[in-house]
C-alpha cells in the first residue's frame, strides 16, 4: 500500500473507534433502521445536512434525538408549523425599555444538531431562513452576524403522505441537503423487537460517548480518505449520465427535465469518503459511491411531466443509471 494511504488507513482506524460505541448506544433505543442510522453518521462525518422522508411513526425523530443524545452537543428540535416566523427560528432583537437599547435573543438554530421536524409545514420565508443558515453557516440578527458553532447539522423531516396545508420545498433549496433519505418500515423481526421493547414501561438511557471535538477530528480524516482517479471518473460518469443519458446509451432523455447539479458530484465524493470511513477503510471503492448514490441523487433529478404521467420517479431513473454505468 502507498505510504500515504497506509498513514490514512491508520488514522481511519484510530478515529473511527467511536463509530462502534455510537451505533451501540443508538441501538439501545432504536430497533433496526440501520440504514437511517448509518446515513445520519455519513451526514455527520461529511458535514452535510439531511432531509428525511417517511411516513409517521418510523422513528425518524427518535433516531435523530438519540444520535444527538449520544454526542455531547447542543440539540434543538423545532416543530415547523404554518404560523412559524423566521425570528422564531433564528432569533430577534428585543427592546429593553430600561436602557432604551436592543438585546439580541438568539433563536433555537444556535445549536449543533437541529431537528427541523416537518419542514414542509412552515411557509417559504421560514424555510428560506433555515436553508440560508444551512448554506452560510451563519445567522444575521439586526446588524450583527453570528457564526454557528461546529458541528452544525440540520436534520429535517417531511411527511410524504400529508400534502394538505404543506409548503413543498423548492428544488433549489432541496439541493442544499447532502442526502435525502427515504425511511421504510421495519421488517417482521424488527417489528417484533420494537413490540417487546416499547411495551414494558422501561426507558432507555443513552450515554454520551463522543464529543464535538471527536466529530471535528473525524471529519478531518474523512477529507483525507483516498479516492482513486478511477472512482472519481465513475462519479462523473454517473452525474453526466443524468444530464446526457443518450451519450451513455440510456433511453431516459424524455423522462429527465434537469439532471444532477455539480453539488451531486461533490457530495458523491464526500459521502463516499464518509461511507468508506464508516467501513474502516482509508480509500473509496465504487461500492461506497453506489451505496450512497441513491440518497445523494434522488432529490437532484427533476423528472418531466411525461415521466410523472408514466409514474416514473427520480428513484427509478437513478437506479437505471447505476444499473447501466460500468463499475471500474
Amino acid at each position: 500500500m502507498h505510504q500515504d494511504i497506509k498513514v490514512i488507513q491508520e488514522k481511519v482506524k484510530k478515529e473511527s473507534v467511536f463509530i462502534k460505541q455510537l451505533t451501540d448506544e443508538i441501538g439501545k433505543v432504536i430497533v433496526g433502521q440501520n440504514y437511517l442510522v448509518e446515513r445520519l453518521l455519513v451526514g455527520l462525518l461529511a458535514d452535510g445536512h439531511i432531509l428525511i422522508e417517511g411516513v409517521p411513526g418510523l422513528a425518524k425523530t427518535l433516531s435523530v434525538k438519540t444520535l444527538s443524545d449520544a454526542i455531547q452537543t447542543k440539540f434543538q428540535r423545532i416543530q415547523f408549523t404554518p404560523d412559524l416566523l423566521p425570528a422564531d427560528l433564528i432569533g430577534t432583537l428585543i427592546y429593553n425599555p430600561q436602557d432604551g437599547g436592543f438585546t439580541t435573543k438568539k433563536g433555537p438554530i444556535f445549536a449543533n444538531i437541529i431537528l427541523a421536524d416537518e419542514i414542509n409545514r412552515a411557509p417559504a420565508k421560514v424555510q428560506s431562513a433555515l436553508l440560508e443558515a444551512m448554506q452560510e453557516r451563519q445567522v444575521t440578527i439586526g446588524e450583527n452576524t453570528f457564526k454557528l458553532d461546529q458541528p452544525f447539522l440540520v436534520l429535517a423531516t417531511q411527511n410524504p403522505i400529508e400534502q394538505e396545508g404543506t409548503y413543498p420545498l423548492p428544488e433549489a433549496q432541496v439541493d442544499r441537503f447532502m442526502l435525502k433519505l427515504s425511511v421504510t418500515y421495519p421488517d417482521r423481526e424488527e417489528e417484533m423487537e420494537i413490540q417487546n421493547r416499547m411495551t414494558i414501561g422501561k426507558t432507555y438511557e443513552v450515554n454520551r460517548v463522543i464529543s464535538p471535538e471527536d466529530i471535528l477530528k473525524a471529519r478531518k480524516v474523512v477529507h483525507e480518505v483516498y479516492i482513486d482517479q478511477k472512482v472519481k471518473e465513475y462519479i462523473v460518469n454517473i452525474v453526466m449520465a443524468t444530464r446526457n443519458p443518450d451519450e451513455y446509451g440510456l433511453q431516459l432523455k424524455d423522462l429527465i427535465a434537469y439532471g444532477a447539479s455539480p453539488r451531486a458530484t461533490i457530495y458523491l465524493n464526500l459521502a463516499g469518503k464518509a461511507h468508506a470511513f464508516l467501513r474502516g477503510r482509508g480509500y473509496v471503492t465504487p461500492e461506497d459511491v453506489k451505496s450512497i448514490g441513491m440518497d445523494v441523487l434522488r432529490h437532484r433529478i427533476i423528472v418531466t411531466y411525461e415521466a410523472e404521467a408514466e409514474e416514473v420517479t427520480s428513484e427509478h431513473i437513478v437506479k437505471q443509471v447505476f444499473d447501466h454505468i460500468e463499475v471500474p
Binding site: 472512482v231 465504487p286 461500492e287 447501466h324 460500468e326
Partner: protein, 321 residues
C-alpha cells in the same frame, strides 16, 4: 441720358492724340475677340472630325472542322459611351461557316488621360466543311450624338481555312478501350483473390470443425497462465486488473452473474442468491476483494499473495476431475 451718349460726349471732348490711342486700343480688342472667335470655329471642326475606328480580327485563321474560332469586331472612339449611338450590328454573312453564338461588351477606359470607349462584338464560328471559308464585311451604322451626323463603316471580308477534323474521338475511343481492358484485368484478379480466400476459409472451417473450440474455462486458464508467466514483470495494479477481468468473465460466462455495473459487494450478494458452493464463493470473494484493495487502495501485495490469488482462481476455473 444713356451712358453711351455720355461716353460719346466725353470722347468728343478729348484731345485728338488721345482719341487715336483709344481707337487703336479698341481695334486691338476687336482683333483679339475675332481671334478668339476663330479658336471656337476650330473646335467645331474637331467635333466634326470625331470618328470611330472599326477593326475585325479572328482568333485563328486556320482551324479544324470540329472546332470553333472567334471573330471579334471592335469599335473604338475617343469620348464617352454616349458620344455615338451605334445601331444594332447585323451578323456578318458567312460562307462555309456557321455562327454558333454572339456576344457584345462595352468598355470605357482612360488612355493617357483621354477617355476611350471600346465596343466589342464577338461571333463564335464553326466550320461547315473542309476548305476555304469567307466572312463577309461587317457594316456598322452610327450617329454622332452631339452633332446628329450619321455615318457607317465596314470591315473588309476575311478568308480563312478549315482543316480536317482532329482525331480526338478516336483518341477517346482508344482511352475507353484501355480503361475497359484494365477494368476487366482488375476484375479477374479480384475474382481470383476472392475464390482463393473462400477456398481457404472453407478449408479453415473444415479444420475448425474437426478441432472443437476451447471452453470458457480453457480460454480463461490460458489467460491466467499468461498473467502468471509475467508475474514479476507487471505492476500489482495491472496484475490484479487482469485477475479481476478473468474472474468477472468467468462469472458472466458461466454463472450469468456480475453485470458490468455490479460492484464487488453486488457480486458477493449474487453468490448468496445463487447458492454457489461455499468454497467457490469464498475463493471468488477473496479474489475480488483483494483486487479492489490493490486497485483502489494501492494495497501492497507480495509475490506469495499474488500466487495465492492465482491458485484460488485456478481452482475455481479448472474443470472438475
Amino acid at each position: 441720358m444713356t451712358k453711351k451718349a455720355s461716353g460719346f460726349i466725353i470722347i468728343s471732348q478729348m484731345a485728338e492724340g488721345l482719341k487715336r490711342t483709344l481707337l487703336l486700343q479698341v481695334w486691338v480688342i476687336f482683333l483679339l475677340l475675332a481671334a478668339s472667335g476663330r479658336v471656337d470655329s476650330e473646335d467645331e471642326e474637331t467635333f466634326q472630325e470625331a470618328k470611330i475606328e472599326l477593326s475585325a480580327s479572328l482568333e485563328r485563321e486556320q482551324f479544324p472542322q470540329n472546332e470553333t474560332t472567334t471573330l471579334t469586331v471592335t469599335l473604338k472612339w475617343v469620348g464617352s459611351q454616349d458620344a455615338f449611338e451605334i445601331e444594332p450590328l447585323s451578323p456578318p454573312s458567312v460562307d462555309n461557316l456557321r455562327i454558333i453564338s454572339s456576344s457584345s461588351s462595352v468598355e470605357t477606359k482612360l488612355d493617357e488621360g483621354t477617355q476611350v470607349t471600346l465596343r466589342k462584338y464577338e461571333f463564335a464560328l464553326r466550320g461547315e466543311s473542309q476548305g476555304v471559308a469567307t466572312i463577309g464585311g461587317v457594316q456598322v451604322n452610327y450617329r454622332h450624338t452631339e452633332t446628329g451626323q450619321s455615318s457607317f463603316l465596314e470591315t473588309q471580308p476575311i478568308q480563312l481555312e478549315i482543316t480536317p477534323a482532329t482525331s480526338q474521338k478516336r483518341l477517346k475511343f482508344g482511352l475507353l478501350q484501355l480503361i475497359l481492358t484494365i477494368a476487366i484485368v482488375v476484375g479477374i484478379i479480384v475474382f481470383l483473390i476472392y475464390r482463393f480466400a473462400v477456398s481457404k476459409r472453407e478449408s479453415v472451417a473444415v479444420s475448425a470443425a474437426e478441432v472443437p473450440p476451447p471452453t470458457l474455462e480453457e480460454r480463461l486458464l490460458k489467460e491466467l497462465s499468461e498473467i502468471e508467466s509475467g508475474l514479476g514483470n507487471h505492476p500489482s495494479e495491472e496484475f490484479y486488473g487482469g485477475v479481476r477481468s478473468i474472474t468477472l468473465d468467468f462469472l458472466r460466462g458461466k454463472l450469468e452473474l456480475a453485470g458490468r455495473s455490479s460492484t464487488t459487494a453486488d457480486v458477493v450478494a449474487e453468490f448468496e442468491q445463487k447458492k454457489l458452493p461455499q468454497g467457490v464463493s469464498e475463493s471468488l470473494k477473496k479474489v475480488l476483494e483483494t483486487c479492489d484493495q490493490v486497485r483502489f487502495g494501492f494495497k501492497e501485495s507480495s509475490q506469495e499473495e499474488k500466487k495465492e490469488i492465482l491458485s484460488l482462481l485456478r481452482e475455481v476455473l479448472e474443470p472438475e476431475g
